[in-house]
Chain length 427, copies 4
Amino acid sequence: MSHRATMDDLVSLRRDLHRHPEPAWREFYTTARLVDELETRDLDALYVGPEILDADERMAVPDDAEIDAWVERAREAGAREDVLDRLAGGYTGAVAVVERGEGPTVGLRVDIDGLPITESEDGDHLPTAEGFRSENEGFMHACGHDAHATIGLGVLDAVLDSDFEGTFKVFFQPSEELVAGGKAVAEGGHLDDVDYLLALHVGLDHPTGEVVCGIDGFLAVSHFRAEFTGAPAHAGAKPEEGKNANLAAAAAVQNLYGISRHSDGATRVNVGLMGGGTATNIVAEEAFIEGEVRGATTELMEYMEDRAHTVIESAAAMHDCEVEIGVEGKAPSARSDDALAAIVGGVSEGVEGVDSILDRDDLGGSEDATYLMQRVQDHGGLAAYVGVGTDHPGGHHTRTFDVDEATIRIAVDVLAGSVERIAADRP
Amino acid sequence: MSHRATMDDLVSLRRDLHRHPEPAWREFYTTARLVDELETRDLDALYVGPEILDADERMAVPDDAEIDAWVERAREAGAREDVLDRLAGGYTGAVAVVERGEGPTVGLRVDIDGLPITESEDGDHLPTAEGFRSENEGFMHACGHDAHATIGLGVLDAVLDSDFEGTFKVFFQPSEELVAGGKAVAEGGHLDDVDYLLALHVGLDHPTGEVVCGIDGFLAVSHFRAEFTGAPAHAGAKPEEGKNANLAAAAAVQNLYGISRHSDGATRVNVGLMGGGTATNIVAEEAFIEGEVRGATTELMEYMEDRAHTVIESAAAMHDCEVEIGVEGKAPSARSDDALAAIVGGVSEGVEGVDSILDRDDLGGSEDATYLMQRVQDHGGLAAYVGVGTDHPGGHHTRTFDVDEATIRIAVDVLAGSVERIAADRP
Amino acid sequence: MSHRATMDDLVSLRRDLHRHPEPAWREFYTTARLVDELETRDLDALYVGPEILDADERMAVPDDAEIDAWVERAREAGAREDVLDRLAGGYTGAVAVVERGEGPTVGLRVDIDGLPITESEDGDHLPTAEGFRSENEGFMHACGHDAHATIGLGVLDAVLDSDFEGTFKVFFQPSEELVAGGKAVAEGGHLDDVDYLLALHVGLDHPTGEVVCGIDGFLAVSHFRAEFTGAPAHAGAKPEEGKNANLAAAAAVQNLYGISRHSDGATRVNVGLMGGGTATNIVAEEAFIEGEVRGATTELMEYMEDRAHTVIESAAAMHDCEVEIGVEGKAPSARSDDALAAIVGGVSEGVEGVDSILDRDDLGGSEDATYLMQRVQDHGGLAAYVGVGTDHPGGHHTRTFDVDEATIRIAVDVLAGSVERIAADRP
Amino acid sequence: MSHRATMDDLVSLRRDLHRHPEPAWREFYTTARLVDELETRDLDALYVGPEILDADERMAVPDDAEIDAWVERAREAGAREDVLDRLAGGYTGAVAVVERGEGPTVGLRVDIDGLPITESEDGDHLPTAEGFRSENEGFMHACGHDAHATIGLGVLDAVLDSDFEGTFKVFFQPSEELVAGGKAVAEGGHLDDVDYLLALHVGLDHPTGEVVCGIDGFLAVSHFRAEFTGAPAHAGAKPEEGKNANLAAAAAVQNLYGISRHSDGATRVNVGLMGGGTATNIVAEEAFIEGEVRGATTELMEYMEDRAHTVIESAAAMHDCEVEIGVEGKAPSARSDDALAAIVGGVSEGVEGVDSILDRDDLGGSEDATYLMQRVQDHGGLAAYVGVGTDHPGGHHTRTFDVDEATIRIAVDVLAGSVERIAADRP
């Protein structure tokens, strides 16, 4: 018999996860904690770490020293050694599977990583007031993924406790904040038999009690990092011997912003980070820029990406430098299917606490759930990205972000109800 | 028996040339007028137009319509039809040769072209006051080449009238102002047996009565013209279809000025002219830049030229454009040989009106006499570039430049005396 | 009794106008020809040239020499001297007014200028085959404004011939192609009592028989011209004395394209034209850039315009230059009112030859009819921009553009019917 | 009676200093070690730390945490607590004064700081082989200032042991490597009565046994650091709200390199360091560039500095950012006086081991001894910068640089002899 968490259990779990935020590919404590819970349920399969994804498709994987430091931190926070062993090599995340007779395969995707933001110490900030502020100083669950993971478990329990017939999979996906984990999970094999997929986000400026049945308007995105290598020289004595990596990088920055707008829709470009050089009197041998391009469609993002690479390579050539361009994160655009959104809407009408139901809204940002949605849609399945409102005092990705915990119960009811209805209706 | 011009004749000739300034490769009247004079002398050979140069090495040759217009203008000014026939195809300039027994071959190089500058109409400007202001409106002898050509004839007469033994050649070189004629004349064959070469410039901020025996400090120079070709597009409706030639040209300009200074000596870069596009709402299909690089040595100029080509080609590639780069003018650096300069100094001491003799001075600009000097020096000969001062009211290349005609006699005496002494001393 | 043109008359008029395309602010023949026609109608008022607009608000007015040349050309083509007198000073266009009892004031706006495009000489191009190709070589009615003016007259005749009650005004607006005339006409006073305004465009990739009742999606636009003034210097001898206008212009171009995209909607920027400098070896004293910014709304265009001015001024300051920025054309965004569009749709259903009616479509470009629409809407009136399809062999603004003349009758019926219905219904 | 160091003592001191290299303004151990020595001499005054300079003129002073760390490191290495107390607040360096009867005041300036370079661990590198490799890992005496300080003491001893009459001051100057200490010492008061000043550098690609009597060709230099502040924004959701500090910095870099060359002589510009931003998807709020300008004369450096500030400020304005520009180091140009150089040459002829004497050579780099030289010359004194050759296996500022210790004795003899002769001859 499977254990079913009470709402108090879920709140407690969420607060524990909130105390231990871990950035992309470093969700060791988080995964171990979820495994602790999942093992007490009546699952048919539980995959963790390397078993859930295609290792070659991971992006922005930290170096070993960084990974080791976070494993150690997880260990000190109480993560089970046997689970940490299964995650060796920088693999995180889990997929839980239950099979309940004949019926379609329904998936739910939640993400689990935190952000490199220092959490507010202000007394008005509930986690601080209630004592579950981040213990990993400089990192924070500032986007609600602690709630997402918790809701994932809650939905699993509710489905196990229902008349659901079919197969249900919960994807606890790592590394969404860098859009670096979605592709690897999408190509990990566990999506291939999924007929219907729901993905979840809380908040997004919608208040507690509001549900958005199908979110669209994902900007496809690609993160790049370009490393320029020139040659150093004494800037006073032999400037002509230098191959100026700083100048190459500056020319790239200037011209990246000059990539033409596109008449097919919105595009974006940003060089968020740059750096280079060692001393005022040395022509810089090395410089880097790190940034992103986006598009309202995957095609528009790829248009920007192609142009960006040309600009960067030409800027390097212009100043006689070499350049290596790496892709550090990526997500396509996607669209929520009407049929699934309609079911979410119908279910939501009957959920206590829901007082506003929106058919559609635009995300206006990027998300790598789109890789998973696309995977399902590509083989003929349906997918929807569901928004469950929450009163959040600070904006997403700010130091005072927090989740109204009443949202947890609402989200569990909306999503578990939808999973059951989808399996029954096979839309 | 050869006719010898009086000083009055020479002044009269200089004023006639001054009235008919002709820019590079368009010196039709000038050449015809010189031929008129030269044919009355006892020459052993007179080469004109295509006979004096290597046609393939001409740079910045105007198009046919432009050439035809200047031929017609020369015809109207009284140029002889048979001479114009010999210049057909845009060839100008002349080489006069006299052979007087056994002895070395000595050359004198003078240049003959004018500038696209509108001459002052001010009453204080002597050519205006005396009625010999330019009749080719918009063009002017603003650098003294009218005097140079005249002095060339004067020296020829003086040498013919002397005890000179050997061969003497006067090179009336076209197209110096664009540094576009020197290379073609240098490779035209007539320099190959020259043992000693003198070249002349009046003025250069030296007063009447001052002689500079050997000028150095020529900046080697290369003129380039880059034509960018992209693709047009409606800037509102389909901006992404454009390949923006204006943007490529702007990126080139920005980065050309960023070519590193060189520790071996002075360098220069300038984009003097640019243009592109057809309408505000069309992404520009075509753009061009025209400019120059210089260096204190030929190597430094070539360093700049190499880097400039890389910048231009990369700027085109950066914005998906094609580019063609043409060289429109070029001159190496050069150095006056001490032995010749010493002879010029010695002769100058005995010339009436000379009251200041400088061994050396720097030009600080560019000149394509350097091609001729280098040609002679490369096969073991000696060369010197001689400055003969003149009180000039306005600076070189300004609307009020003028030559103190007393300089003509001084220059003839200094140069003719030097030619004789060189032939006698064979330094 | 007013003369009413037959369809043959209208076709003949359109072909005459087609033979005499005149660019912005130079529509002298066109205006005179229209006045010839209009004077034979039973008008209550006919305003021409300076009487129809606010002279201070004209943009991109050509210089006197240019205007004089086109007046002379119009005279030679047969324009009446007394009309040309009324247009003195570079004023063109006309407003015809008829008052027919009590009722609202309805306006119709058509534009009359041609483009600087050389018309195709191909035998497949109907104007060439039929002998009404442009007689103003290098200029062409390549956007159908010849048909627009003709339709304006046709609608006037039809309204005069109908039961219309109220006041009807036809605005023959000059200088739309440069978006340089709309603002002056909008502020000329004749719009102030207009309750309903229709504007017309033929074609726009809609075939003959298709009507678009209300066009939206106008990109607001602003044309700028920036003139940079620095200081000249010899690029070899004294480069540091130059204030490099070419470099300032290039920095402006590079950074204009770098103005950030806007999350509120589409924006555009283009530097269509640039130029500068006088010689390769002179640091450029003067340079200019000419371009445009656009936005999906007037606010977005103004965001771009503000940022563009900052960039241009900073680029000048950066290289120690002065700059003057002029606005050479401008148009806001606008929206067609539903109530008018509905009437146009209803009327179109009954017009012979109309086989497809679209409620809405996006222009995706710019138009200064928006100034007139906004003027009417600002004082509480309604406005709609109506598209009447025409089979055009070449695209707008291409050498092979042509209008299917069957469109003229359809457009007259749709618009005259709408004017009558609007006056009757007063929506 | 004053202690006089033997050559063995001096070598031992030099090796001790070499083991403890300290970067600019952090020479705590070095100063304390020198004070240990100096206190055993018969001095008339010994000034240390804040007593030797004008505190307001210090540049590039590290923050307190950095200073505290180096004080602690010096303490652990054995620096005397009472001396460290006198250096509190980040003051280093010393001035030793001896008065020996009537006579002029002669100064000797040596510098004492190390570099942030990791010393070679190769067995061929003598300090490694002999066990005096740097104990401050990552820092190294890679320019011979350990020898300079040692020679300063040796010359003091030799002068004390001679017939010198007058006042002799040795300036142990901190922070030369950042050209950040010279100005403060020059304005500290101790130079004001100095009639003659000698400054010293070993090596400079001259072999052991070669002396350069008067070095010239100092490039005047100014180090700048510009900090750009814009506004952050989400690059996908609200890019228009960002004020892009990275873009401002890139525009500055591009245009700094475009500052025109100068016809009066060599100039330099380099942006050696740059950085900015926090995340790929955030418009960068902050960025910085750090670099330098140089000129063959102080005027040329100031021309570059003026232009650089204009470029940086305009780049900030262009992208709506603020910028603060700080000067982090500075040195004028200077010239060695002939009269002093002649004395150095004369003395060198009699010094054992000197086998080559050069009157003049160009430094081709920058040095802030020029501030001290200028100070003396400005009040009518004379100054010379003396080079004493040393066989150095690696170049200056490389990991394998080392000083041939035979140079120490030669330099002491040349300089002490020159000090005596100067006092005697009063040139």
